[in-house]
């Protein structure tokens, strides 16, 4: 239960940040970044503590398998874009495939090329 409360507090905090500072980012992202900062600060203060409170870690593990399920409804909305798919379907496939090649190569070369 404490995990759920923490989650809701950071979701609401994300909405509050968005509204109060007029930020263009989604509220859930602002909530996620706030929670990340909280967890990192918590660990910096108490270096021997685990990465997250137990109830929150449990909730995170429990929710993770459902992530793709929650994406289904909005993906079904692609049916309302049938005309775009009919007109540009194969061009879009080519664009998506071709644009991946430089992305993959740049990621790998930067990761390998820079010594930490």
């Amino acid at each position: 239960m404490a995990g759920l409360i923490t989650l809701l507090v950071f979701l609401l905090l994300g909405q509050a940040l968005r509204l109060m500072f007029n930020l263009p980012m989604p509220a859930a992202i602002l909530g996620m970044v706030s929670l990340l900062v909280f967890l990192l600060v918590r660990r910096a203060i108490k270096p021997d503590s685990s990465h997250a409170p137990e109830s929150l870690a449990k909730l995170s593990t429990a929710l993770a398998p459902f992530l793709t399920l929650f994406l289904v409804p909005v993906s079904v909305g692609i049916m309302s874009q049938a005309d775009v798919i009919q007109r540009y379907g194969w061009q879009l496939m080519v664009i998506l495939a071709v644009s991946l090649v430089p992305g993959i190569l740049v990621t790998a070369f930067v990761m390998r090329g820079i010594k930490s």
Binding site: L7, L8, F10, L11, G14, P24, M25, P26, A28, I29, G31, M32, L35, L39, L40, R43, H51, A52, L56, S60, L63, A64, F66, T68, L69, F70, L71, V72, P73, V74, S75, V76, G77, I78, M79, S80, Q81, V84, Y88, Q91, L92, I95, L96, A97, V98, S99, L100, V101, P102, G103, I104, L105, V106, T107, A108, V110, M111, R112, I114, S116
Partner: protein, 235 residues
């Protein structure tokens, strides 16, 4: 006694019915994925979406009616995005010595693929709404949807581009990196997460836990970076 067709007509007006159909379709999607030996072309979400769209066509149901039930699952995306911070905090801690080059690599790589895609769309198709929706293609879907709405793209198109990109990246990344001999676990995992977000990450999970940790970190960091940068650049 009411007829079965009456029951069907009644169900179609009930949010719970469409919510259940979504869960059934997703479960069938998972079974198909497992039965196919985890074929990268058949992620559960693809089967689920195809089944639901077919059902809606056959029963002559509008997307709006479907969403009376679907919206409850959609609402759950916010909480799922927030808890992504938990594994990320863990991974940032274990990878803190490499964090600088990880962030540099994923920023450069994801920036390149998105700009190339947007540029190609611009010169070839020239449709503003498609260009705005393709900008979020390398971001995990829950983030892509909300960012796409933010910058004026179509959430449904964005979701479609993200899924197709994920499938392609999961297929292309291991082949391409093996060909140029850069397929150590850290580089391959990171590239899968950067270019293929959640679908790439589940591919990494099949390789090893080390692949998966880098992929999950890359996915979440790329998502956060784009969620912050795209609205600033395009609104």
């Amino acid at each position: 006694m009411a007829l079965f067709s009456d029951l069907l007509n009644y169900w179609q007006t009930q949010p719970l019915f469409w919510l259940s159909i979504t869960c059934f379709a997703f479960y069938i999607g998972q079974l198909v994925y497992q039965a196919s030996g985890r074929n990268a072309f058949l992620p559960p979400i693809l089967t689920a979406v195809a089944l639901i769209i077919s059902t809606l066509y056959l029963t002559n149901t509008s997307y709006e009616t479907y969403m009376t039930g679907g919206q409850y699952l959609y609402l759950m995306l916010g909480p799922v995005v927030v808890v992504l911070a938990v594994p990320l905090a863990q991974h940032i801690h274990t990878m803190r010595k490499q964090l600088f080059r990880i962030i540099l690599a994923l920023a450069a790589g994801s920036g390149t693929t998105v700009l190339v895609a947007a540029w190609l769309t611009d010169v070839w198709l020239g449709e503003e709404i498609i260009r705005l929706s393709i900008l979020t293609k390398s971001v995990t879907t829950p983030i892509a949807i909300s960012v796409s709405e933010e910058i004026g793209g179509s959430a449904s198109l964005a979701a479609g581009f993200v899924i197709v990109t994920g499938i392609l990246a999961a297929l292309m990344t291991p082949i391409l990196l093996r060909a140029i001999r850069q397929d150590d676990p850290a580089t391959l995992g990171l590239t899968l997460g950067t270019c293929g977000h959640a679908i790439g990450t589940s591919r990494a999970l099949e390789l090893s836990n080390q692949h998966a940790a880098y992929a999950a970190t890359a996915m979440t960091l790329t998502g956060s970076l784009h969620a912050i940068a795209l609205p600033l650049l395009f609104t």
